[in-house]
């Protein structure tokens, strides 16, 4: 049987415009290319602007993870300016970020991912009719509830920042708000509402406490069998149907994973620096290499970008984002032997291509590296090992697993606020270089900023999807999604739902992958030097 080439434009339901080319032989994908097809030039826009411009502009890079961009922008300036951040403010930033992610989980699962379980391909599955009742777009029982209730957690964001998306309430030195008892009480009530109306009865079919007892794959399977409510919950149902339709059989990827770590501890990061960041995070940073089963810490100095196959004329060497010059090719023709995407290929200097996202976070959470007081959770790593690596199904479980943990962290923030203590300590603006990072719902996000003569000299962003959706690098190594697509069975080339499953399992967000360049002149932009 000959090879067939399939150009899918767009893949859709991946937040932004993702195009994919796959080559199919014998009903299986044997080669794949991912293209980011939008360019807005945010980093160029930021050059020469007020040092705080990033607080306004970068949340608008992505309306889905705007709070995550805002937290990166704030911490980057905090490290550049040498601020002191009061503990209330650290908690308020964390809470904003947490509720943004809690919002994202049902919105992503029902709105973007689970709809495909109602695809006609699965008509013969015994789960199909039930899947349609639950997950059909707009009218499915769980779809409607899940998408609607996803608006609730970000009401808490609005209590702190006035609105979600696109508030700029986090600023160097703290936050703009000083919530009252009313705000805190409402926030508690909103969390409770979310838990009692969806998280426990619909999603888990059990209490948070019962779910928290699950530590291993065997625990999970025992939980599933324990009660019909567990089996019939959306989580239990999804798990069983996913196995039935084979979502555990493809979509592996590169087998190495990255997280910057997130949620700085309110007592350990009040005088933030780039160097002290790793030890101050509640959720630890790291790289997990599944081939050697080892965990190591992640540091920003390990990051590299390669533009060999991207629409930039910047040579073929791997460079640190600090040293990146941004030199676009005007004519962005798709050329699969050369350049075919606006995304750069992001790498680790030692580990090469890495997958970012919820799976990466959970695999790193299962490592014993980092500080003794940092969060540890071995569940997803155990599931990963049970399946002998990643697949769509494991990636999906990891994506939804964080909810209970984040819910608990949100509760903790609310308990820890001391309402009459400071929320902001006015910093002194100064020149310098800063770095801020976090984990957006869909993966590792970081900002580098250099302030010179009281304005932004250079601003660089590496978003989660830049890691995942990047094109091949100088050695021809595929990006994580490209790699994950290889081996995907395609039942009907006129409706390649399987490609959608794989791409969407990464929860890609193409709107974020945009890099900067000067369209008018094509001039080389200012360098961002490390030394």
């Amino acid at each position: 049987m000959g090879r067939q080439t399939l150009d899918i434009s767009p893949v859709g339901r991946v937040e932004g415009d993702l195009d994919v080319r796959v080559e199919i032989a014998d009903g299986q994908v044997v080669n794949a290319w991912t293209h980011a097809e939008l360019f807005r030039g945010f980093e160029v826009i930021l050059r020469g602007k007020d040092p705080q411009a990033g607080l306004i502009v970068t949340p608008r890079i992505c309306g889905i993870c705007g709070g995550s961009h805002l937290t990166c922008a704030s911490w980057a300036l905090d490290t550049a300016w040498g601020t002191e951040v009061p503990r209330n403010a650290i908690l308020a930033r964390n809470l904003g970020q947490i509720v943004e992610t809690i919002q994202s989980i049902p919105r992503y699962f029902y709105g973007l991912f689970a709809i495909d379980l109602t695809n006609k391909k699965y008509r013969s599955s015994r789960f199909y009719d039930d899947a349609v009742r639950r997950f059909a777009a707009f009218t499915g029982k769980s779809y409607e509830l899940g998408v609607t209730i996803s608006a609730k957690p970000v009401e808490i964001y609005a209590l702190l920042g006035g609105q979600w998306p696109h508030s700029s309430y986090m600023v160097p030195g703290g936050v703009m708000c000083a919530p009252t008892l009313t705000d805190i009480t409402r926030a508690w009530a909103i969390l409770e509402y979310f838990r009692t109306n969806w998280l426990e009865p619909v999603w888990l079919g059990c209490s948070l406490e019962r779910y928290e007892e699950i530590q291993t794959y065997d625990d999970f399977m025992a939980w599933l069998d324990e009660d019909i409510k567990h089996r019939e919950s959306d989580l239990g149902f999804y798990w069983r149907m996913g196995l039935d339709i084979g979502l555990d059989r493809y979509g592996a990827g590169v087998g190495k994973y990255v997280t910057w770590g997130y949620l700085p501890h309110e007592d350990r990061y009040q005088k933030p620096t780039i160097e002290s960041r790793n030890a101050a995070m509640i959720m630890k940073s790291g790289v997990y290499d599944s081939f050697t089963d080892t965990h190591t810490l992640m540091d920003h100095t390990f990051a590299r970008e390669n533009t060999t196959h991207a629409w930039y004329d910047e040579g073929t060497a791997d460079i640190h984002p600090f040293d990146r010059t941004t030199n676009p090719i005007q004519k962005n023709t798709k050329d699969f032997n050369n350049a075919y995407s606006w995304s750069s290929a992001v790498k680790h200097q030692d580990f090469g291509r890495l997958e970012a996202g919820a799976l990466a976070r959970q695999l790193v959470a299962g490592g014993k590296h980092g500080e003794s007081w940092q969060h540890y959770d071995g569940f997803i790593l155990d599931v990963f090992k049970h399946f002998g690596g990643a697949n769509i199904h494991v990636r999906q479980l990891a994506r939804v697993h964080e909810q209970v943990k984040l819910y608990r962290e949100a509760e903790r923030c609310l308990r820890e606020f001391v309402l009459n203590d400071p929320w902001y300590i006015k910093p002194k603006e100064k020149d310098g270089r800063g770095w801020g990072a976090t984990e957006a719902a869909r993966g590792s996000l970081c900002h580098w900023v250099e302030v010179e003569d009281g304005k932004i000299k250079n601003y660089q962003v590496i978003a989660p999807t830049t890691w995942n959706v990047g094109p091949r690098d100088s050695e021809g190594v595929k990006g994580p999604i490209e790699e994950a697509l290889v081996g995907t069975p395609i039942a009907d080339p006129t409706d390649p739902v399987e490609v959608g499953h794989v791409a969407r399992s990464f929860d890609s967000c193409l709107v974020c992958t945009v890099h900067a360049h000067d369209a008018k002149t094509g001039e080389e932009l200012a360098r961002f030097r490390t030394a």
Partner: protein
């Protein structure tokens, strides 16, 4: 049934996220209760690849009636007017827009990028972005000053970064229920019902504004954000403090200065050094005063207000 096609150009998906926060009605209510049929949406639509391309062509060719075209994001013209830097469904997005705008009964621009060009169109505008019928305050934009949709209206502009979900749902429902004739548009084609009053209308810090009690630093429950922190609430047309955000608050209520994001000039002063979260003043008087207030009267007002201010105006007003 009212067919809605929603596309994104140079977008961040923020208006979509805002739209999904809608509660009365919810996005699902729109479909179940108001007869709105979402033909396709980038985050919610079912079709991918060729199937979507067919759907789009069916709209263009009139096989599928296109009642409302909703556009989110800027129109990307780069490089050199070709639009190739924003390709969608195998064509430049602007090519789809040209064709679809001819077929649509109504065109609705949601958010600043689609209305005025927004952040992508900010200096130096690397993507050569513009709004559907405006570039900043200048009329014209991508479709031109004279563009009218098949129903005879210009592009209905729902600005904001993002647009408030209620602003979006109410316009969609107004069209779907045959009420759009009730909606008056202002000179920037914004529905007056949302954009006639100022952001300040309903702000809980209004008494501080009246008595000239300023918040000079962030993290305060008291004081007005206009005098020192660059708040544009008195000069910005929006209903943010009347139709609250996420049902619970607004930026100024929470302590964040209004950025004026429903006005074409957003982001103001192009975020040049010294302009972010700082009020621009001349001899202590704000450079920009609320519309209709004369400088001389403002000085007089300040004196009287300061004299008349009760002690509590300077205290932590919303105390714990």
């Amino acid at each position: 049934m009212t067919n809605v096609l929603w596309l994104q150009g140079g977008a961040c998906s923020g208006n979509t996220m805002s739209f999904l926060n809608a509660e009365e009605p919810t996005v699902c209510d729109l479909i179940a209760d108001f007869g709105i049929n979402v033909l396709w949406h980038p985050s919610l639509g079912l079709e991918l690849g060729d199937r979507l391309q067919t759907l789009l062509w069916d709209c263009i060719l009139g096989k599928t009636p296109l009642d409302i075209l909703v556009f989110e994001g800027s129109v990307v013209n780069a490089p050199n007017g070709t639009g190739e830097w924003n390709r969608f469904a195998d064509r430049p997005m602007k090519a789809w827009l040209t064709d679809l705008a001819k077929a649509a009964n109504f065109v609705v621009a949601v958010g600043d990028c689609a209305t005025w060009g927004g952040i992508p169109a900010m200096e130096p505008n690397p993507s050569e972005s513009e709004g559907l019928q405006f570039l900043k305050r200048k009329e014209g934009g991508f479709l031109g000053k004279d563009y009218r949709s098949k129903a005879g209206l210009p592009v209905i502009n729902i600005p904001g970064c993002p647009a408030h979900p209620d602003w979006i749902t109410q316009i969609l429902v107004a069209i779907a229920t045959g009420r759009i004739a009730d909606i008056a548009l202002d000179d920037l084609n914004r529905p007056q019902t949302f954009f006639n009053t100022f952001t300040q209308t309903g702000c809980t810090r209004n008494v501080h504004f009246a008595y000239k009690a300023s918040t000079a630093e962030f993290g305060q429950r008291k004081g007005c954000l206009f005098y020192d922190l660059g708040c544009r609430g008195p000069m910005t047309h929006s209903s943010c403090n009347r139709i609250l955000w996420n049902k619970v608050s607004s930026k100024t209520r929470a302590g964040m200065p209004c950025l004026g994001c429903t006005e074409p000039e957003f982001p103001f002063f192009d975020l040049k050094p010294g302009t972010v979260f700082k009020t621009q003043t001349v001899m202590g008087v704000p450079k920009e005063l609320p519309p209709g207030v004369k400088k001389k009267d403002y000085a007089l007002l300040t004196m009287v207000a300061k004299d008349a201010a009760p002690d509590w105006a300077e205290e932590d007003f919303f105390t714990v």
